[in-house]
């Protein structure tokens, strides 16, 4: 199954070989999981949205053009992530940095990398959902604005503005909050 193209696997599933869907799940779990995690900010929500996506994908597979499975499935995920993000209640965040623990970390990666990842995660989460989505689609998923328009239904000028604002907000946030450990 690993060497078979998406359209071959899709056609096998539609022909009744449901187990062939496992090949598609295995193939797209890492990529879609990364987007879901970056968009929703935590593993639990990301796995829920991802699982939901694959199940919906299976259920509506007959509506998919087999050659376009990847972008079709990704469209379902983007939609699910929007729904999950919208369902979350606004919450307070009480953040504590255990300076002792950070300073004495014995992890192989340098401490500043951990702090950097944490800062990025937090900065990303502080973006409005539509800006976060646009930034991830443009810069992490490397989609063109035309592809983003097709995926989201949002016009290109609005998408460009969202990406611009996201970049500015991230830059400001990181400049203010990244701890200098030099």
């Amino acid at each position: 199954m690993k060497d078979e193209n998406d359209d071959v696997l899709v056609r096998r599933v539609l022909a009744g070989e449901t187990s062939a869907y496992a090949g598609l799940v295995e193939r797209y779990r890492p990529h879609l999981g990364r987007y879901a995690f970056r968009m929703l900010g935590n593993q639990a929500d990301a796995e829920d949205a991802l699982q939901d996506t694959f199940i919906r994908g299976y259920r509506s597979l007959a509506r998919c053009e087999p050659e376009r499975f990847r972008s079709w499935l990704f469209g379902i995920l983007v939609n699910r992530c929007r729904t999950y993000a919208a369902q979350r209640t606004k919450r307070q965040s009480v953040v504590t940095t255990d300076e002792w623990s950070v300073a004495n970390s014995t992890r192989q990666q340098p401490v500043d990398d951990d702090g950097w990842r944490t800062a990025i995660g937090r900065a990303l989460e502080e973006l409005p959902a539509e800006q976060r989505e646009a930034f991830l689609l443009k810069h992490v998923e490397d989609l063109s604005y035309e592809e983003m328009q097709e995926l989201t239904g949002v016009r290109i000028p609005a998408l460009k503005m969202r990406v611009f604002r996201a970049r500015e907000a991230l830059r400001r946030n990181l400049q203010e909050n990244v701890v200098d450990r030099s």
């Binding site: 187990s19 869907y21 890492p30 990364r34 935590n42 639990a44 209640t89 919450r91 307070q92």
Partner: protein
């Protein structure tokens, strides 16, 4: 570092892979009624039809409560929770099995309140093996509220729904070390241990 360099570094970090639990594929295939591998046994599910499956989409969240499930690993909050059971621990399960087959404890509310607020407690502690949250809202119970660790970094978190009010709290790292949040108002308990204070429904 120029702005462009910093943006590139951000993008490079966000493109790093994220771990998804190894049982994920099995859960998906189980949900659609198929074996996880082509060699697996069990009846094949009916292929997806143009009109979709007859049965409703299984909820990714099944809880003993009516509201959306939330666990100590953090899940979207919605509705209200029913009042806690005697010990103050609620067990929630998912119809699509999570990474452990066993159920996971979740934080309990002492009571329902119409204007309850969700408050996320976060501790950055890469060296920790376990982190507990104790406070006025859970009677300082040492086994009630465990934080979950975000994969890939040292961030621990839990979300608790609290009625408006003022609460003392602290983190317990590795079962023995008390940590307070120096950025908030800090008090001492009767044992001289540092406590932080959070005000829900107001300014922290």
């Amino acid at each position: 570092m120029t702005d462009h360099d910093e943006l590139e570094r951000v993008i490079e970090t966000l493109k790093e892979p994220v771990n998804i639990d190894s049982s994920f594929d099995r859960r998906v295939m189980s949900a659609i009624g198929a074996p996880a591998s082509p060699e697996g046994s069990g009846p094949e599910a009916a292929p997806p039809s143009l009109h979709g499956a007859a049965e409703p989409l299984p909820s990714a969240r099944k809880s003993v409560w009516l509201s959306p499930r939330w666990t100590i690993r953090l899940s979207p909050l919605g509705g209200l929770l029913a009042a806690a059971a005697v010990a103050g621990i609620i067990l929630a399960t998912s119809s699509l099995t999570r990474r452990n087959e066993s159920t996971e404890p979740v934080a309990a509310l002492p009571e329902l309140h119409e204007s309850a607020n969700a408050t996320q407690f976060v501790l950055v502690a890469p060296e920790a093996d376990s982190v507990l949250l104790v406070g006025d809202f859970n009677d300082w119970g040492l086994t009630t509220t465990r934080l979950a660790r975000q994969p890939g970094d040292g961030v621990w978190f839990v979300t608790v729904v609290l009625p408006p009010g003022r609460y003392r709290y602290a983190f317990i790292v590795n079962g023995t070390t008390w940590r307070s949040n120096p950025a908030t108002q800090v008090t001492e308990d009767e044992f001289g241990r540092p406590n932080s204070v959070v005000t829900v429904g107001g300014v922290i």
